[in-house]
């Protein structure tokens, strides 16, 4: 037994990779569907959108790139599904250049499911430069900053955009973000400056930084990583890729806990042997 723990000290890292790969792949082939408990922050975002009057306009800021898709695209899809199921209207903006095609893919997928019409029920305004400056500019005029949409159509030709001037016309803001400019800047420049009710979905690696905003009430709801996306999918009763990925997520976490425990036992045994010698 002691020899086993000693050998663990010099195990090839590729063996660890192999175990991780097995733990990710097997749950997809043979799902065991562990329950997903819904947290308070996820429930907060759901309740806020659920409480909006029919026809309200939600702004979704999709500030992420393809590398954030596994965590953030399910959030975007789930928020669209929730909004469209409640007959809310959605306008999307992106301050990351890679964002508009990802948001548009989500738009098209969900709009087809709910029979929503572009320009009437939802609009993709595409990308604009400027980051925080652009956010502040939207407080003056959203059509001024986005004279054309993602398809280069003048926004005055879109019925939904005729109803929107600035943040005063936005009932709720959802920031789905993977970095800067992102949720932090939306809180600083828009929520605090224009008092827009706001929720967010962020990557897991950055989620701990945003819980203080949740506690202070600056964010009314927060989705943290794939787990947050899965919780939201459960709440809207439409499990998607995030919920399906949680089996693999849990399996890998258990594996890592096992490795941490084994590694520590191995380390302590080797230290004891050294002190005895």
């Amino acid at each position: 037994m002691i020899r086993f723990f000693e050998r663990l000290q010099s195990i090839d890292r590729r063996v660890v990779f192999l175990f991780v790969a097995i733990c990710v792949v097997l749950p997809f082939l043979f799902p065991f569907r562990l329950p997903v408990a819904v947290g308070r922050s996820t429930r907060g975002l759901f309740d806020e959108i659920e409480g909006l009057p029919e026809g309200s306009i939600v702004m979704l800021a999709g500030d992420y790139s393809p590398d954030g898709m596994p965590e953030l695209q399910p959030m975007t899809l789930a928020v669209y599904r929730h909004c469209f199921s409640r007959n809310l209207r959605v306008i999307s903006v992106c301050l990351w250049p890679e964002g508009p095609p990802l948001v548009e893919a989500a738009h098209q997928q969900v709009a087809a499911e709910y029979g929503k019409e572009y320009g009437v029920d939802y609009v993709n305004l595409g990308y604009t430069t400027g980051g925080p400056n652009a956010m502040v500019e939207m407080g003056t005029s959203i059509p001024g900053l986005f004279p054309r949409d993602f398809y280069l159509t003048p926004v005055e030709e879109l019925p939904l955009m005729r109803k929107i001037s600035n943040f005063a016309d936005i009932a709720f803001l959802v920031s789905i973000s993977a970095g800067t400019p992102g949720t932090r800047e939306w809180v600083q420049q828009v929520q605090s400056r224009f008092d827009v009710p706001m929720g967010a979905g962020v990557t897991a690696v950055s989620a701990p930084n945003f819980y203080p905003y949740m506690e202070s009430g600056q964010l009314l709801g927060l989705l943290g990583g794939m787990a947050g996306a899965a919780e939201y999918e459960i709440l809207i009763e439409q499990p998607g890729t995030a919920a399906r990925g949680m089996d693999a997520q849990s399996a890998v976490h258990l594996l890592i806990i096992l490795f941490v425990v084994l590694g520590n036992i191995s380390y302590l045994l080797s230290r004891r042997r050294e002190s005895e010698a």
């Binding site: 991780v20 082939l29 965590e71 430069t129 202070s216 794939m226 399906r244 693999a248």
Partner: protein, 213 residues
């Protein structure tokens, strides 16, 4: 499991299928690095950097230069965008040591403008609102833990007195709170990295091979 073979996942050979195959092969090239560095990995890495640079250059050219300078000035007759345009051009004086000092005007304008934009909102959102929330009187176990954790963690960073006695005890409690915080961050980081792997595996096994739904 779907009864779909590799071949049926390949046929009919539409542009979408071609894109999926390219993505799958490049994904495998990247993951080959886990075994050891190799030419396939290097090829995929260089391709990613090149495509990203091209994509960003095009997007920024269209959004910044065309959208915010050329179109408003040449088509709209608006002259104000010429000011940031000229300031942007001044940055190129850095290539000529004799005139490099001129670029400081552009930098000064940018730093001053951004500071004016960011500092008040930063103070409001990240300092005042947070302090206000921390001071709000609430009676609960969570609030008590938050208060103890906050004070003890701050005391850990108080270096004007030796950490012994009451201060030493409080700072040790602060370390525990900090460790719990770091542990939570580490857990979230693991989840983020595993999520990326899960995303790629979903792509390979669902979109490429069609083995899962």
């Amino acid at each position: 499991m779907n009864e779909v073979s590799l071949w049926t996942g390949f046929w009919p050979f539409t542009p979408e299928r071609f894109a999926i195959w390219v993505g799958a092969i490049l994904t495998l090239c990247i993951y080959s690095f886990l075994y050891r560095d190799n030419p396939f990995y290097k090829f995929a890495e260089h391709l990613l950097v090149g495509v990203s640079a091209g994509y960003w250059a095009l997007i920024y050219w269209n959004a910044n230069i065309v959208g915010q300078l050329l179109v408003p000035v040449l088509r709209g007759g608006v002259l104000l965008p010429l000011v940031p345009g000229v300031l942007g051009l001044l940055m190129f004086t850095r290539f000529f040591p004799r005139f490099a000092w001129i670029s400081r005007y552009a930098i000064a304008f940018y730093v001053g403008g951004y500071a004016g934009l960011a500092i008040p909102s930063y103070m409001q959102a990240r300092v005042l609102a947070q302090v206000h929330a921390a001071m709000a009187p609430t009676v609960s176990i969570t609030a008590a833990l938050l208060l103890i954790g906050l004070i003890c963690s701050l005391l850990y960073f108080f270096f004007s007195r030796e950490h012994k006695g009451v201060l030493g005890g409080a700072s040790r409690i602060g370390i525990w709170f900090l460790m719990v915080g770091f542990g939570a961050s580490f857990g979230y980081t693991v989840m983020a990295r595993v999520s990326l792997l899960i995303g790629r595996m979903q792509f390979l096994f669902r979109d490429w091979l069609g083995l899962i739904r």
